[in-house]
Symmetry: C2
């Protein structure tokens, strides 16, 4: 199994602390040593860093741990190869452009017998089931929203939930996806959520003897959601997602949640805090650390 991580924040934030914990699982505290990748979204554009070296030893991972790149949405992945050899081409996140926005996608799981027909404009570059699933998701979204310029997450979310459920029939399909506006997280077997807001604690990593006083870099108005396969800190309240759930986050807040038939917790969570749309979210440009 690979390990996923994502951040959605209402201000551009660095992920050097979280990435330090995640990268340790790439060959040191975990067996996910077949490469890694991090995608930083700056509105429509995304910068992607991938390497086929273990995240715990890669020079590029070392660079990313020590040179904070601030972004409102970040996706990261450390790989344990199941399908496709250890190569750049098979490192997540994968990237494609749709309607003038970069979409990133990272997957944890294993899909069997999922070989859909893909058009010439969306074909996998590597050999993973994951990139194939991403290409199919985007192809379906393109077909559904053919007439629209760039659909908002409110339109995309229910379609994404429907498509995710269809792919999940083929196996474990924990995934993260983003277009830089919204972060989509789908749980199949394991995905955990953490909401951070004022007052910010001193966080302690699970995988390293490292702590960070989050109150130093974050102001009272800052808020962020972290998503990870397994909790990255040992003194914060990470909540597991339920199987089959799709949640959507915008500017550090949950804005949408699918409600599979056997699930009430998701509905409760959604009603406990009023839904916030991207338009309603107060955005500022102060620094934040995660």
């Amino acid at each position: 199994m690979c390990q996923l991580f994502a951040l959605s924040c209402n201000v551009p934030a660095a992920v050097t602390f979280s990435f330090t914990g995640l990268a340790a699982r790439g060959g040191r505290t975990g067996e996910h040593a077949d490469g890694f990748g991090v995608a930083f979204h700056d509105d429509a554009a995304c910068r992607l860093f991938v390497d086929d070296q273990p995240a715990s030893r890669s020079a590029l991972a070392e660079f990313l741990r020590h040179h904070p790149i601030r972004a409102r949405t970040v996706l990261a992945h450390i790989r344990k190869a199941t399908q496709g050899p250890v190569r750049w081409a098979n490192c997540h996140p994968f990237l494609r452009e749709w309607n003038g926005r970069h979409w990133s996608f990272a997957h944890n799981g294993d899909l069997q017998g999922f070989k859909p027909r893909l058009a010439g404009g969306l074909r996998p570059v590597g050999q993973t089931d994951s990139e194939r699933a991403f290409c199919w998701l985007l192809q379906q979204l393109r077909q559904r929203f053919r007439s629209r310029q760039a659909p908002a997450w409110q339109q995309v979310a229910p379609v994404m939930a429907e498509l995710a459920a269809e792919v999940a029939r083929h196996g474990r399909f924990n995934f993260l996806a983003s277009d830089g506006q919204a972060l989509y997280a789908h749980a199949s077997t394991s995905l955990h959520l953490l909401q951070r807001r004022h007052p910010f604690p001193v966080a302690h990593l699970v995988d390293e003897e490292l702590s960070l006083d989050l109150g130093v870099d974050n102001g009272p108005g800052d808020r962020m959601v972290l998503v990870a396969t397994e909790p990255l800190t040992r003194n914060e309240d990470w909540a597991p997602m339920a199987a089959g759930e799709l949640r959507v986050f915008v500017a550090g807040e949950q804005v949408w949640c699918s409600t599979p038939p056997d699930l009430t917790r998701c509905q409760e969570a959604a009603t406990a805090r009023p839904l916030v749309t991207a338009r309603q979210s107060p955005l500022s440009f102060a620094a934040a650390g995660g």
Copy 2:
């Protein structure tokens, strides 16, 4: 004007030496301080590094100068903004996937009034005329080769020359493009070529007090073509390309050249050395430095 650089090689080669000279032009020996990018092709896949900081001072550029990434095809660009603000989104090279291969594209010049209609699957993420031209080129190629899986350079080259000439009617259109198999170089105003093969010299950079004995890292069978807006070394025989020319390089050798009506040199060059196809090129995996 921006500055372009590319390498085509028959073995995976590092470009740390050339990039050191190019990066100096990004704010120190040149005025191209609005960001930079480097694309490394590994067969169908491409890793892209971009930054909106000056290449002469960027921490990422420093990383790339000191951590050689070996690839058979490399494209690089340092930017002096003419259209679009200084942001990641506007840093070349740009990347898109077509038929399961990453295509990279970098441009030097300025296009006026070039606003073609682009489909939803190929729209610029940034604000440059360059990315718009790239999207249009790929859109046209997709339409022309709709029925083929992935056309070979022999099919793509004449179409690319025709499309390049069409875009060049709108202004200066020096560009580099690659799908990891072939490197396409189109000159409008300024582009220089250098063929390196055994025996390899000690090369001296134009922009730095730095020399490299190319014979140390390169074997008798290694060969490479370098393309740059202005020569990067001061003791090698860089040849200017003619206006309107498109040349194609595979595995460190020129394999195709367009012949604009006013141009005979290109024809002579093409006949002086027999054309080599990708299939015919002897490929090995020894190290090489450029």
